[in-house]
Subunit: 221 residues, 2 copies
């Protein structure tokens, strides 16, 4: 198909498609004339992936480029593609430095490692998930909530593990098609289903709160 049809079928404005082509997020089509190229289903799929990562995942163009670089690297095994693209998605924006004071952050990291050990989860020492969890632990402490966040992390993990298991089982069973297609759909699925989980959680909150009579009472004057 021509670039105009690609734009129409993907519902992505033509200037945006051209921007993705210029920056290399979208690979060039097959040149068929001086100013004309042919695009295929892989381009359509890639555009849907870019759009999902940007619109739903809120990723920057830089982050998307890092994710796609991992997906397109023919030397990486599936595990490493997923690890690298996960790190790219969770990475702090370039140039932004850690706002935390280092000793408190290192202590929080140790607590997170302890949680992973208790759960028998194998997570790379450099995984961005560890950094995010340590930062959130510090933020929870800063707000001065009562209770023991590190203990609650375990409780959350027990709820989250079956979700992750369902997803990886599904991914494993459905892992047919080209290697690029498999990892692309896995990365995009991680982002899209994350949004489903977080939106469902908030919808469930709304429903549960609406059933507690005192929360609907007008505030005392």
């Amino acid at each position: 198909m021509k670039v105009s049809e690609l734009s129409r079928r993907a519902s992505v404005p033509l200037p945006t498609v051209k921007f993705y082509l210029r920056t290399g997020l979208l690979p060039s089509g097959e040149r068929t004339g001086v100013n004309q190229s042919e695009y295929g289903e892989a381009h359509l799929r890639r555009l849907a992936a870019i759009r999902a990562l940007r619109d739903i995942g809120g990723l920057s163009v830089e982050q998307i480029a890092d994710v796609l670089r991992a997906i397109d690297d023919p030397a990486l095994c599936v595990r490493d593609v997923l690890a690298q693209s996960s790190d790219a998605m969770l990475a702090r924006p370039r140039g932004e430095t850690a706002p935390e004071d280092a000793p408190a952050f290192d202590a929080a990291l140790s607590e997170i490692d302890q949680v992973f050990t208790t759960l028998d989860w194998r997570v790379r020492p450099g995984s961005q998930t560890r950094r995010q969890l340590a930062e959130t632990l510090l933020a929870l402490r800063r707000t001065g909530f009562p209770g023991l966040p590190a203990g609650a992390f375990l409780e959350y993990a027990h709820h989250v593990e079956p979700i992750a298991r369902m997803e990886i089982d599904y991914f494993h069973d459905a892992a047919t098609g080209s290697r690029e297609q498999v990892v692309e759909s896995s990365v995009v699925g991680t982002v899209l289903w994350e949004r489903v989980i977080t939106a469902l959680r908030r919808a469930a909150h709304e429903s549960l709160v609406s059933r507690i009579p005192e929360f609907s009472e007008p505030p005392a004057p």
Copy 2:
């Protein structure tokens, strides 16, 4: 305490604190001199809340202002504070228009409503959670994943409901202190624990993938 001590104790740079004071995100202190004001624990808590909403929640200053306006509105019951602040957090950035074609979007909204009816969840027709879920349903369809997304939404909901129930039960039991404190901690908690859930999910993915031998095999040449 003076504004400099507030900045230090909250680990928020002084120019940032002054920016929050100028824009009204942070209420003014009690004036004690021509160029001096006194700040208290409520300011410290509010700064931690702003920082969590910005750094962890990724909210814009406009969104944070909307959230804080709901928290500070003395006429709202707890349910309405939570609904309004949830909508403010999930709202599309101002000026950005819906990219979807309307009939497909309306059909997706009906599917989401059907999911809520099946679950017996009470969610306002105007809730931003419905919009997010409908958008994500369309994005999932666009990527061309196999399977039935609407059916999978139900499966996810069954996993997510116990998490939301644990949180609302905890919030309900812990709902002591001033009304402002209660809703502030609930809104901030929603954002911080969401990050815990999403980071734990990705850590669990990493651990599960590392145990599937074929995912660690080098790609076929």
